[in-house]
Amino acid sequence: MATRTITEGISVARRRRFSETYIGEWLMTTDHKKLGIMYIVTAFFFFLVGGVDALLIRTQLAVPNGKVLTPEIYDQIFTMHGTTMIFLFVMPMLTGFGNYVVPLMIGARDMAFPRMNAFGFWVVLFGGLFLTSSFLFGAAPNAGWFSYAPLTELNTGCGTSGVVVCTPGLNMDFWALGILMLGISSIASALNFVVTILRLRAPGMTVNRMPLFTWMTLITNFLLLFAIPSVTAASILLLLDRHLGTHFFQAGFGGDPLLWQHLFWSFGHPEVYILILPAFGMISEILPVFSRKPIFGYTFIAWSGVAIGFLSFTVWAHHMFAVGLPLVAQAFFATSTTLIAIPTAVKIFNWVATVTGGKISFRPAMLFALGFVAMFLIGGLNGAALAVVPFDYQVTDTYFVVSHLHYVLFGGTVFGVFAGIYYWFPKMTGKLLNDRLGQLQFWLMLIGVNLTFFPMHILGILGMPRRIYTYPGNLGWNELNLLATIGAFIIAAAILVFLWNFVITLRSGQPSGTDPWDAFTLEWDTDSPPKPYNFPVIPIVRSRRPFYDKKNPEIADWKTATH
């Protein structure tokens, strides 16, 4: 008794350690949930930065002969828009969701390597600040998010004779070093996810019972492990060329300009699936819950993800049809690109079958998930058109390609991300985002996305090149460009609605309880927000819907289903 009193006395007298302060707690945390939130908040910050870049681009292109930006600044803005959205928004955002949700979904108490998890986050943050700080030096990257060499060489090799200045200054050094840094983070987090999912699943959770978001996260992180080294190698070679006198990409000195494109796109195309597969997983969780049905064709959805993963490494040169590839290579890459549409279509059919005949509840998460299916379908179809080599010749490097990639990455991934935010926000905060504002945001975004990106199909077919600074007024592009700009500002309004919703919900949102959606998976079988240890008792899994089983023991899946 005396000892206890003394101990209490000491603990009262002791000064709080830095790690126990609010800032110290977040700075030193290795908790996957806190890191997940930090990833998501950081990614959203960079989404706003990349969004402002997009608005500047669209303002410049709203009318012919625009003079809002100088050509030099415009180059920097569109390069940083792509780089920011891909490396600093979508990738960290999906990693954030994975971090928060996957350990809960599989019944684990944390990620396998908590400190490496924290390291991955801090590297993303500092890598992002490093890239963005290039604006302060007046030297933001300016050669597109793909940074084609030899254009990005320092001072030789991009002309036909003599010493020609290519990309002097620090611009491309910021890009190459920033990408190196972000690659380190991606490898660290990918290793962590793979080990966590393979080794830390709850008893009874076989791979055949894993939630589909976990499946897609696993595939995505395998893709990262195999794709990132390619762009890392390319960045190092570029830095060597720029500063140590090597000539890897300079034809005049025995190098090969196409080497960059092969290295970059052998990362860049798996990257597209790295950016979309987790969103596939998210809506595969959301559609069944809001249709009150189990997912249709679980096995097909899971294994079509694996097929997409493998095939994604065989399609990269469809970005290079116009460089003069041999015919046999063109035929191969056109075929593989068409093939990858099959597992993708399998998923779409399964999602449609899941909602068909269900008791659908049109909450914002469901609206965004349905919007995802529709928008991604358009992005998939115009992508399949680009696999046709003669058509690709006609529209390569035009706004048709811009339209395609934005239907996939904005109409697809961003809709998926917002579906995920509306679905898991109550888990993270214990509060429900406002439904009406969510619906308003959805409709504004749906209109905005189509108004912005659909006219770009026509602009591309009319021959408007992508990355163009401005255009004369007599080419028939004026009205379509103006429409696209109006659409971009409607999207911006939708994001403002979301921010308003976010703020008022945090201040005075309706409490959600632990299971607001009557959900099926384990992350809902604990407090909202969960305690640091996630589960007081590690759950036993007997089917693909363990929480549904627990709530409905008399009709539990494990009593009736065979998996």
Binding site: T30, P114, N117, A118, F119
Partner: protein, 89 residues
């Protein structure tokens, strides 16, 4: 009769009650109070991931700005790796 007997045995073997399932749980998964769990499984905090990331940032900034900053960054990376390795968990 044989068919009836076989069917009954088969159905019995298929019917697994909740209680039987509970009994199958390993002993280390018995209920522990939430407070005890929170104390035991609170994720351990660490400075080193943050320190290593900032050291990496300084190193890369040094590549851009000045070699002295680069070498300071390298030294900090080494220190952070050593600190990480020696940290007691």
């Amino acid at each position: 009769m044989v068919a009836l007997y076989q069917r009954t045995v088969l159905e019995k073997s298929k019917t697994v009650t909740e209680e039987q399932e509970q009994r199958k749980q390993p002993s280390n998964q018995r209920k522990i109070s939430k407070e005890a769990m929170e104390y035991a499984i609170d994720p351990k905090r660490s400075y080193w991931p943050f320190a290593l990331a900032i050291a990496l940032f300084i190193t890369l900034l040094g590549v851009i700005v000045h070699p002295v900053i680069f070498w300071i960054g390298v030294a900090l990376i080494a220190a952070a790796i050593i600190g990480w390795g020696l940290e007691r968990r």
